[in-house]
């Protein structure tokens, strides 16, 4: 098809069609015109704009009833012309605007005329195109007060369409058109920004529509979720842009100074709104109601894009209208905060960005600092938290805790203002303690046993999941949703990160002491506080926040650790067998009580609890969980301190290793996982490496605990595990600890011989492993002979002999018989037959126990010889 570039050529072609249309207005004629227009270039069309528009407008204006189809095609043709040309005259713009709007006018009702959807759509697009085709200058002057009635009609028309139409397409088109009309279109055709005066003019004009727009849009926004998210998103956009424009603090501030009545005719003047203080107050009150409604509905909207738009709404309104909408600030912030933990990562990210922006800018809302409002909100939330945790369902708890988390994130270091209030800290902690209560009725916890008591073979590399793996599944009284637990952990971590750690740890340690009912929860909270304080997994919104220094953190961790591993919190009854083992201990305890009576009431009571004759399943479960939580805490602490935790290994490693051999499956699992965490944190490649490098600390613990074997019946087991996991570098320490073992064995040879025998077996196995063949053995022997008084050389000599001259069963039997005989003699159980020989011995034995003697100059040298005759204490 030929293109007509010049106006002359185009005129030649278009003239007959236009004449035809003017004469007879039919759909066909309009279509013919449109077909011809396709072939005309834009520049030619611009020249002939008025000429072409005439027959079209004539058709619209012609009196008498018209067919909808005709109007629709005329409007479409008009739209086509407008889309290719510019409207350069003010008058034309106004007229076209009125004529187009009138297409949907129905004289008898408020509602848009009952016409076909196609026509509605055509008109909406026509209006939109018209506004786009207007020259910038003309467009601004278009919004003069006199246009108010016509503009008002169009706005209400579009709102009506957006609200009441069935077709989604129309709704969206209407909302888009509304945006254009309200100067909110973000397309490239409106590059010019408005100056102050123009803004004021527009503001005055739009203020008249504000009630209508805001209420209608609120109805759309809070409508059915099923209407589609894009409609809600557009409505939200128009809502906050309009409100943000009309109620902008900047405009209102200037308005109150100047008050000039625009010179307009009376009818229009009545419609005009002057935004004086009263009006602002009234409007803001009404808007607050609407905003609350919107927030309530939108913050739980299933579509994430809607929630995302809500963030923009909050941000825009808080930034632009912080003075005028001061009443809404609270709800707006709350909405923002509650989205911090949104399930959509986009929303979360956007929300964090907005929050960071607020936190950084020190935005002032009304006369109050942003932070004040937040603290106030947090105060009131903390107050109601215990009640909410008690009454809400999982979903309710989730949103409440999300909100709490948001406030904490936002307040950052200023959270201390709330924590410093004793009553608020108490309420907060009460709520946390309450909601974290564990369900300890599960019988499996006690039942499950660790059967394989083999090596600690796993190395961190084989359990590849890395540090802080999935923690053990717990069951809580007050919720089942895992997300709630996650939130609670995050809340505690943030508290630890921003809050005064000394204060918090003190407080929760106090609760830990206060009652066994709180102990497990308090420990869980303490664990997370420390993890948070180290800044792990915490997203910092506050650049200037100073974290707890490593020294302080270490100090705090040391004190918690001391508490966790203290006698009364670490050695709890977890199974019936343990109770039996504890019998002699109970006797001993009561003896001790007699001595200490009055000195330590708390200690006595804990001892009593300890020696409770029949522990219930529940109390044992509870004890198991407590130990697991404390073990997990030690893992957390290691993770929090990193390499610094090495210094704490001297007190932490022994207790953890002890629990790794616990019979209860959960405990041994928790201990193994804590050891992994320690390996990771302190930079050891494997458990063996960890144990090997810290065997001096372990030996220290073992040696001291052997002195009180009845209190620490598992000590030989730890030594055994240590021997199994060490290499020859342990050798210098072995002699020392074996001395202790033998000394203890002397005291308990009748009751605990089995556990010691297994230690000695482990020792021999270790020696055999460290020095696999006799060649090495000899070499080593030469080395160690150099060290004066080394017990080991003797030991090794014995070993060597054993290896060289293979001992027969008869030898062993003979040895044993000799030994028993000697023992009898030593005890004074001598038969008549042996009497004469034995007298001397008996005498000397008696003598040794009655006559005070200088201590033997050395106990060591003969200690390790297998033939050593034991001395017994009676």
């Amino acid at each position: 098809m030929a293109v007509f570039d010049t106006p002359e050529e185009a005129f030649g072609v278009l003239r007959p069609v236009c004449v035809q249309l003017t004469k007879t207005q039919t759909v066909e004629n309009v279509e013919r015109l449109q077909a011809q227009l396709q072939a005309v270039s834009d520049s030619a069309l611009q020249e002939l704009q008025q000429y072409i528009l005439f027959p079209l407008r004539f058709t619209l204006k012609a009196p008498g009833p018209k067919r909808e189809r005709l109007i629709q095609s005329v409007v479409e043709c008009l739209t086509f012309v407008l889309s290719s040309t510019c409207v350069k005259e003010q008058e034309l713009l106004q007229e076209l605007f009125s004529e187009l709007s009138a297409c949907l006018y129905s004289p008898n009702s408020q509602k848009p005329a009952a016409v076909s959807e196609e026509l509605k759509l055509a008109v909406i697009q026509g209006l939109s195109t018209l506004m786009h085709s207007a020259y910038g200058d003309i467009l601004v002057t278009f919004y003069e007060p006199s246009i108010l009635p016509r503009l008002g009609f169009a706005v209400s028309l579009l709102l009506g369409l957006a609200e009441q139409e069935k077709s989604k397409q129309i709704k969206i088109a209407a909302l888009k058109c509304l945006q254009v009309l309200l100067f909110q279109c973000d397309c490239e055709d409106h590059p010019r920004s408005l100056d102050e005066l123009e803004q004021k003019q527009l503001g005055d004009l739009f203020a008249a529509f504000l009630p209508g727009i805001s209420t209608a849009l609120t109805r759309v926004i809070t409508g059915d979720f099923k209407q589609g998210h894009s409609i809600v998103v557009s409505s939200l956009q128009i809502f906050y842009k309009t409100v943000g424009f009309v109620m902008a603090d900047e405009q209102l501030r200037r308005l109150s100074k100047v008050q000039a009545k625009p010179a307009v005719e009376h009818r229009v003047a009545e419609l005009m709104v002057h935004r004086e203080a009263d009006w602002v107050k009234n409007t803001s009150d009404k808007l607050t109601i609407l905003i609350k409604k919107i927030i309530e509905c939108v913050s739980v909207h299933p579509h994430w894009k809607v929630r995302l738009e809500l963030i923009d709404l909050v941000e825009a309104l808080l930034v632009k209208c912080s003075q005028s909408l001061v009443e809404s600030a609270g709800p707006l912030l709350k909405a923002l905060v509650s989205l911090v933990n949104d399930e959509s990562s986009e929303v979360q990210a956007h929300c964090s960005k907005a929050l960071r922006h607020f936190a950084d800018q020190k935005v002032v809302v009304g006369n109050r600092a942003f932070a004040d409002i937040l603290s106030e909100n947090l105060h009131s939330l903390a107050t109601s938290l215990p009640r909410l945790m008690n009454s809400q369902d999982d979903q309710g708890k989730f949103s409440t805790l999300s909100l709490l988390l948001g406030y904490l994130k936002l307040l950052g270091p200023r959270v201390n203002f709330v924590l410093n209030s004793v009553s608020h800290l108490q309420r907060l902690s009460k709520a946390l303690i309450q909601v974290l209560e564990l369900d300890v009725a599960d019988i499996k916890v006690v039942e499950e046993r660790r059967w394989n008591s083999g090596h600690l073979s796993a190395s961190p590399r084989t359990s590849a999941a890395g540090p802080r793996r999935q923690i053990q599944r717990r069951y809580f009284h007050f919720f089942t949703d895992e997300r709630v637990f996650l939130l609670l952990r995050q809340v505690c971590q943030l508290l630890g990160f921003y809050g005064n750690l000394y204060l918090l740890v003190d407080h929760f340690l106090e609760l830990y002491h206060e009652s066994v009912v709180y102990r497990k929860q308090a420990a869980m909270i303490l664990n997370e506080l420390v993890a948070g304080a180290a800044g792990l997994e915490v997203e910092n919104l506050h650049e200037k926040h100073t974290e707890t220094s490593p020294e302080e953190l270490r100090e705090i961790v040391t004190s918690i650790l001391e508490e966790y591993t203290s006698q009364e919190n670490w050695y709890l009854v977890t199974c019936i067998e343990a109770e039996e083992m504890g019998e002699e201990l109970t006797v001993k305890q009561s003896g001790l009580q007699a001595i200490t009576s009055g000195a330590h009431t708390c200690q006595v009571s804990s001892f009593l609890a300890f020696s409770n004759p029949s522990p219930t399943i529940c109390s044992m479960n509870s004890n198991i969980w407590q130990i697991c939580i404390q073990l997990e805490g030690i893992g957390h602490f290691a993770y929090a301190l990193g390499k610094d935790f090495r210094l704490l290994l001297m007190s932490a490693l022994y207790p953890v290793l002890e629990k790794a051999g616990d019979q209860t499956l959960l405990i041994s699992q928790a201990a193994a996982s804590a050891m992994m965490d320690i390996c990771h944190a302190c930079g050891y490649d494997s458990l063996q490496h960890l144990i090997n490098q810290n065997s001096d600390y372990l030996v220290n613990g073992i040696s001291l605990n052997l002195r009180h074997l009845s209190l620490h019946p598992h000590t030989p087991k730890v030594l055994e595990v240590m021997l199994q996991n060490s290499d020859a570098s342990l050798l210098p320490l072995v002699a020392d600890v074996v001395q202790d073992v033998l000394a203890t064995l002397d005291q308990f040879y009748d009751k605990r011989a089995t556990s010691f025998v297994s230690v000695l077996h482990a020792l021999l196995a270790a020696l055999a492993r460290w020095f696999p063949d006799t060649g090495n053995l000899g070499q080593l022997r030469e080395q160690s002979v150099g060290e004066e008084g080394s017990h080991l050389s003797q030991r090794l000599a014995t070993l060597e002999e054993g290896l060289e001259n293979t001992t027969t069963a008869e030898d062993i039997e003979q040895f044993l018989l000799n030994y028993l005989k000697e023992k009898d003699v030593a005890d004074g159980n001598v038969s008549d037959f042996d009497n004469e020989e034995g007298l001397g011995c008996t005498g000397s034995v008696c003598g040794s126990s009655t006559v005070p003697q200088e201590p033997a100059p050395s106990l060591g040298s003969s200690d390790l010889a297998l033939t050593r005759a034991p001395t017994h204490q009676r």
């Binding site: 001790l592 001595i595 200490t596 000195a599 330590h600 200690q603 090495r646 210094l647 001297m650 001096d696 600390y697 030996v699 220290n700 040696s703 001291l704 002195r707 009180h708 209190l711 210098p732 320490l733 020392d736 001395q739 000394a743 002397d746 060290e787 004066e788 040794s848 126990s849 005070p852 003697q853 201590p855 033997a856 100059p857 050395s858 106990l859 060591g860 001395t871 204490q873």
Partner: protein
């Protein structure tokens, strides 16, 4: 075992300085034990922590001639000094200024070590004339000057040296008729009122003598023990001292204004033999190292026995207090036990 059993709990009465923490049986355990000297421990000395320079250290001297430097933070040896040719280290003392350590060995050498900034080198040494077990004593006299007392050439002499110039100031030789035997332990000190250095010396015959170093004469002398004096410590504020000997008693004596020593009392012990005695820097308690493997703790003012610490399995050779009150004991069983007793609140 073969030793008499002392019922430890009854030895721990609720004295006025007895915090509840210690009152609870079982008998106290060491806070921790340092292992790894591989040889009997004969000398202990705490240093550091002051001047904000890192964590406190514990120095130990062993029979094998090595000095181990232990970090009390990690409870591990951080360095080993080898300067006494395998001969027993009997005395360790850091100097008030800087990072200098004196170590006395039975190789007849007194070494001065520089331990600053990770160095550990002998910077100077003094040749000793006596092979006895008598430990030296040092007294700071102004910046970078100190007076040193060591056993002298003659078996009953004490030699006084000016350091670091190593110039011999004088030799303190008892009068011919006194015959106190060898000096066994020395303690240089200075009264607040006078700048003249004084020396307390315990002798083989069981007597303790006060020397005026500048006038080279004995001011006073008392017979405290019937056996050789093994160790003494002096509280210059209260002008009271305590000495232990090979016998079964501690002697407490005082010094009046005329600088005359006066025996105050003796404290009977269960077993004989005190290898070392130290008063805690806060002058509240004192500790003794016993041949009977025990460490005993007494109230310094009343001499009331407070605790018997049974941990070692061989003779305890030395005890030392840190400025913060920590107690360390070194034994022939090659272990060093560290105790936190009646911590100050």
């Amino acid at each position: 075992m073969t030793m008499e059993q002392e019922s430890t709990p009854s030895d721990v009465p609720g004295g006025d300085c007895t915090p509840t923490r210690m009152a609870a049986p079982p008998p106290p355990d060491p806070q921790f034990v340092l292992r790894g000297t591989q040889s009997a421990v004969h000398a202990l000395h705490f240093c550091g922590g002051a001047q904000g320079q890192g964590h406190p250290l514990l120095l130990s001297g062993s029979l094998s001639g090595l000095v181990h430097i232990w970090s009390l933070q990690t409870r591990r040896a951080v360095a080993t000094l080898d300067g006494h040719e395998g001969q027993c280290v009997t005395w360790l003392q850091t100097l008030p200024q800087g990072h200098q350590l004196l170590s006395q060995g039975r190789d007849l050498k007194l070494c001065l070590w520089d331990l600053g900034e990770g160095r550990n080198a002998v910077v100077d040494s003094v040749r000793l004339e006596s092979i006895g077990f008598c430990r030296g004593s040092v007294l700071a006299r102004g910046h970078q000057h100190w007076t040193l007392a060591v056993p002298g050439r003659g078996s009953d002499e004490v030699q006084i040296l000016e350091m670091p110039s190593k110039t011999s100031v004088c030799t303190l030789k008892p009068e011919a008729d006194a015959k106190p035997g060898m000096p066994m332990c020395l303690e240089l000190w200075q009264a607040n009122s006078s700048p003249r250095p004084l020396l307390l010396a315990g002798y083989e015959d069981g007597s303790v003598a006060l020397w005026d170093v500048s006038e080279r004469k004995v001011c006073s002398r008392i017979a405290c023990h019937t056996e050789p004096v093994m160790a003494l410590d002096f509280d210059s504020q209260k002008a009271r001292g305590v000495s232990g000997s090979a016998e079964k008693a501690l002697a407490v004596w005082s010094l009046d204004e005329q600088q005359a020593l006066q025996a105050l009392r003796t404290q009977e012990l269960t077993n004989p033999g005190i290898a070392d005695v130290k008063i805690r820097p806060d002058r509240k308690i004192l500790a003794t190292a016993g041949w009977d493997h025990r460490i005993r703790v007494f109230h310094w003012w009343t001499m009331k026995p407070l605790a018997v610490l049974a941990f070692h399995s061989a003779t305890v050779h030395c005890v030392a207090f840190a400025t913060d009150g920590l107690l360390a004991a070194g034994s022939r069983d090659q272990r060093i036990s560290v105790w936190s007793l009646y911590p100050r609140t």
